[in-house]
């Protein structure tokens, strides 16, 4: 008998949505392949995490301080041992910052195929087919998993999380494993710097991407945010350039925001950016490229040049306010 293993992700006691997404997807796969689904919870407080993973047939818990934050060197061999004990053929790893590199490490350790950017999974005549999202979401590739064996790194936002949530009490197992001594040692968390605007609490975000071109142009967005009563956030390149502080970054490595209005200016809408903003109530995208992926998730869009639109928009809002 083989099994599907799902590595649950948690940060500071909180189970991430991706864990439920993967559990839901694994559940479906497991039912079709008639294979049990085993969740894996690792870390100092893994039992508390495990309690929330009732959608799995059972949860493998390893409580060890060295596993609090996943590292390739320590977590990799631990999962490998669990795979061997349970004869796991398919392993789902979260495609998140925290679990970064684990999929490739497991592939290197087990010599199983590794598929990155997994965005879809289906079973066709008993054979597992993985859909991988490449080139920042511009190209999809269907890849068969030979012998239904492989390590999959799952992109957040690919599967519905509700399918992986269950009130059922989880069955807990505590297998014995060797936790190797690491050459990479976790020292401490570094909390995001306080003092700046908290973009997760704003109703209105004017968000700028590489299309804003220069640091000086940020002022345009600031003015617009001013009349809208909101704040300015940005995509990764804008923050990497130092044009906005780290606290303003939206996306995978940055903040997850759910404002009433997300106005995206010159943002292409890469999957890593979408991860942080797809929950906004209203998304309006301004991008000169009609094919930009941001339009796939925006409610309204325009291909007007942002440098022409922003002043016009500011004026129109001011006019309306004066009229009101």
């Amino acid at each position: 008998m083989s099994a599907i293993l799902v590595l649950a992700e948690h940060l500071k006691g909180e189970v991430s949505e991706i864990s439920f997404e993967m559990l839901g997807a694994a559940r479906k796969l497991g039912d079709e392949l008639k294979t049990p689904v085993l969740a894996v919870a690792l870390g100092r407080d893994a039992s508390a995490v495990a309690a929330k993973l009732g959608a799995a047939d059972s949860v493998l818990v390893v409580e060890d301080a060295a596993l609090e934050v996943p590292t390739v060197e320590v977590t990799g061999p631990v999962i490998q041992q669990l795979m061997e004990q349970k004869q796991a053929a398919i392993v789902l790893i979260p495609g998140t910052n925290l679990a970064w590199g684990l999929g490739a490490k497991l592939a290197a350790l087990t010599k199983l195929p590794y598929v990155n950017f997994c965005h879809g999974l289906k079973v066709d005549n008993g054979a597992v087919m993985v859909t991988s999202q490449l080139y920042g979401g511009k190209i999809m590739a269907d890849v068969p998993l030979a012998g239904n064996r492989g390590i999959l790194c799952v992109l957040p936002g690919s599967f519905p999380p509700d399918a992986g949530k269950s009130d059922k009490a989880a069955t807990i197992e505590k297998p014995a494993v060797n936790v190797p001594a690491p050459k990479v040692v976790f020292k401490k968390y570094i909390e995001p710097a306080g003092g700046d605007v908290d973009i997760t609490k704003q109703d209105v975000l004017v968000s700028v991407g590489r299309g804003i071109q220069t640091q000086d142009n940020i002022a345009l967005a600031e003015e617009l945010a001013g009349v809208l009563g909101g704040a300015v956030s940005g995509s990764r390149p804008v923050i990497d350039q130092g044009w906005l502080p780290l606290t303003r970054q939206v996306g995978k490595s940055g903040m997850t925001v759910k404002p009433k209005l997300y106005l995206a200016l010159g943002i292409s809408g890469a999957p890593e950016h979408q991860e942080g903003m797809r929950g906004a109530s209203l998304i309006v995208a301004v991008n000169t490229d009609p094919k930009a992926p941001i339009f796939d998730i925006a409610h309204f869009g325009t291909t007007t040049d942002l440098f022409e639109l922003v002043p016009a928009l500011k004026e129109a809002i001011e006019k309306r306010k004066q009229g009101a």
């Binding site: 590199g101 490739a104 490490k105 401490k188 968390y189 339009f295 925006a298």
Partner: protein, 254 residues
């Protein structure tokens, strides 16, 4: 310290990507290649480390269109050495790439820091940094956003989520997947690159790709079905602005 930076050429996604007739690969006829954007951060981080702690920076790339210019640019920015690994890489992905780089790097200096970017957009298997570290039996940390040399090892900052980061200590030699350099990548004028092209040399090393290429085979490649949810607003900037304001007003947002 010996810093090795791996630079990868990837298709420029600003251009329209087309799938070729076999439905299994990209149509290379229309592809323009450029340096994997974030690799600039790996190079920048190496240059910053060199400036702060001393050492030499070697930029390493596989033979590919336009790669010479990328390597000369690295030298113009401050790299001490540029190396081009030459061979037939048509079927080489993740693990095989790592094997080639590993054999080039051996014997590895005890104070080597190998800087790669975390991930390229074009690789199904990806993350050669991880494979490389595994082959060379070195520690690996990815998504690195800060590096310092301390007490004979490295102190690195890794990005988690929500702006949270973690600090790790790492023994040497090591492989780092750089996500963001501590400073934005430096700019170098084209004139300087041209000047470097006249004086600097790229060292070409012939390598033989391993027999066993990737185990994965793409069955079908295609463009995603666009959900196309956005309702597009047309007109002059003023008209578009007016329509957006109306939409916002309807929702009580202005």
């Amino acid at each position: 310290m010996n810093y090795f930076v791996l630079l990868k050429m990837v298709p420029d996604t600003v251009e329209e990507l087309e799938v070729s007739a076999d439905n299994k690969s990209l149509n290379s006829e229309f592809l323009r290649f450029k340096l994997n954007d974030p690799d600039e951060h790996a190079l920048e981080q190496a240059l910053l480390l060199k400036e702060k702690f001393g050492g030499t920076v070697t930029a390493v790339a596989f033979e590919a269109p336009e790669v010479d210019e990328v390597l000369f640019t690295a030298v113009a920015k401050g790299a001490d050495k540029a190396v081009k690994l030459a061979g037939d890489f048509s079927n080489v992905r993740g693990p095989a790439c790592a094997q080639i780089v590993a054999s080039y790097l051996k014997p590895l200096p005890a104070d080597a820091v190998i800087l790669v970017q975390c991930q390229a957009i074009d690789d199904l298997e990806g993350e050669i940094g991880v494979y490389l570290a595994d082959m060379l039996q070195l520690p690996y940390v990815g998504l690195v956003a800060g590096v310092a040399i301390e007490a004979g090892g490295l102190t690195v900052t890794k990005e988690f989520a929500g702006g949270m980061r973690g600090e790790f200590s790492v023994g040497l030699p090591a492989v780092l997947g750089i996500q963001a350099a501590e400073k934005p990548p430096r700019y170098v004028p084209v004139a300087k690159v041209r000047a470097v092209m006249k004086t600097a040399k790229i060292e070409t090393v012939d390598v033989t790709p391993p027999e066993t290429p990737g185990v994965l085979a793409v069955e079908k490649m295609y463009k995603p079905e666009v959900a196309g949810r956005a309702e597009m607003i047309e007109g002059s900037p003023e008209e578009v602005a007016g329509k957006i304001v109306a939409i916002l007003a309807e929702r009580g947002l202005v």
